[in-house]
Amino acid sequence: MSESRRDGPATGGSTPADSGATPPGFTRSEMMIVAAARELAGQRVCFVGVGLPNIAVNLARLTVAPELELVYESGAFGAKPARLPLSIGDPTIVTGATAAVSMFELFSFYLQGGLVDVGFLGAAQIDRFGNINSTVIGDYEHPKTRLPGSGGACEIAINARQVFVIMRQSRRSFVDRIDFRTSPGNLGGAEAAARTRREEGWLGSGPSVVVTDLGIYHFDETGEMRLDSIHPGATLEQVRDTIGWQPKVADPLPATLAPTSEELRLIREELDPEGAYTK
């Protein structure tokens, strides 16, 4: 992640708004997507998950990261989709791409081979150390909610050089204890995680950013999430109400720069005219 980008909001942003209302002009989902896209500045190869990562990464390609090479687990490298694909299995991913390869090749040579800089994931549950659940809510054998499962998320978390997460925060999603560990984050803390990664020969250094509808989190030296930027219109109270633990908060806490009119235009007119991601 580029430092200038990371410092951007701190120097250029306004102070957090007191009101919990969404400011006029953009939605919380739009702010989340824009914030996530900006985090990709300076990155080269990004493995794109289904759902919110898909629109964030495509926005980044059109704005802060024109050189970004998009990898879709379905088997495309260097994709330049002419429209936002709803699914990661979509013909627009292939037409005009640099390479269309088998999933064996994609997972073996690109991901496991260490060529992916950022794995960009969504999730149903996350804990303070960035461990992720996308498998079940409740007990595995008799789940309350059966979720889609790993897809490629398990190996992306282990083999991508770093992991970005984008998800809406709530008491059900930001939990003290995830019900199932689908993708490892910083395990029980930074020190143990670093040792495990070294001993088990992981290429990845784990999660580095979580972008939600309320703010942007990075991971501190203990391996725990810390709120480093709060979105315009969001309050600390809202943040605390939607997290199942006492979150660490940067001090001072800058406000995320609001979406620019160009970022909003790209989302609304080019990427998601039907509002599938931004409702």
């Binding site: 687990e73 990661i88 013909p91 292939v94 496991q112 498998t135 909610t145 059966r146 889609p148 499962g149």
Partner: protein, 246 residues
């Protein structure tokens, strides 16, 4: 097949309506065992790719760097650690998967089943080589000379193919690169249809049991909708030269 109750067990790595949401018919069977429980054997994508690769290669296992520090090996005892014979490193292994039947959809094949595809390839090649029997469904039946003109484009040789089904639009509501688009409306509609067992059953009655075959199904979809799925233009690959060497 899950909704219709004909599937007993799923071996899988992802269960979703891509880009839309969950799969309610599966959720009903897993969460409520309605109408019957569904047995699950769960991997990650790379794990499934490895399983097909081991199956196609007649290997007793396939090694991969995944599953470290996750709960997947705990709920699936077939995901097992394996120690490298070089140094003391341990990775994970998955067992071979050899499907009874693999069904592959492709752009074209010749009468012997030599099959070519372009676009996303997934793990269709590995799943075909791993299978006991292979059925290829194609948009176009072509002359052998078309296949032999571009041998690097061949993904599945007729040698392993048991049947070729010529069924244009056979992949709907999914897509075929260069032939038609993904019918996103179908996937979005499915979200509401599949939320309820009764509406799901009604849909099956109308669209599966109620049509004689693919042709009637496409006719029922209507020309306007079908035509809207055609690509807006052509994007030719260009031709390369293999050269004559006599």
């Amino acid at each position: 097949m899950v909704a219709a109750g004909t599937a007993r067990k799923l071996v899988f790595s992802w269960l979703g309506n891509p880009g839309v949401g969950g799969l309610h018919a599966i959720r009903r069977r897993v969460e409520d065992t309605n109408p019957a429980p569904l047995e699950l054997e769960e991997y990650s994508h790379f794990g499934m790719v490895g399983r097909y690769t081991a199956g196609a290669s007649n290997l007793p296992f396939f090694p991969l760097r995944s599953y470290f520090e996750t709960d997947l090996p705990k709920v699936n005892p077939l995901i097992r650690p394996i120690r490298s014979p070089y140094g003391d490193e341990t990775v994970y292994a998955v067992p071979p998967l050899k499907p009874d039947v693999t069904v592959v959809h492709a752009q074209r094949a010749d009468a012997d089943g030599n099959t070519q595809m372009w676009g996303l390839l997934g793990c269709q090649k590995e799943a075909a080589f791993a299978a006991e029997r292979v059925i290829v469904v194609v948009e176009d039946l072509v002359d052998e000379a078309v296949i032999r003109a571009d041998p690097n484009r061949t993904v599945i040789p007729g040698l392993i193919v048991d049947a070729v089904v010529v069924e244009p639009w056979g992949a709907h509501p999914s897509y075929v690169q260069g032939a038609y688009d993904r019918d996103n409306r179908f996937y979005r509609d499915w979200e509401a249809i599949s939320r309820d067992a009764a509406t799901t059953a009604a849909w099956l009655d109308e669209w599966v049991y109620g049509v004689s075959g693919r042709a009637e199904y496409m006719e029922k979809l209507g020309a306007e909708r079908v035509n809207s799925l055609r690509p807006s233009g052509s994007a030719p690959s260009g031709s390369v030269d293999y050269g004559v060497y006599e």
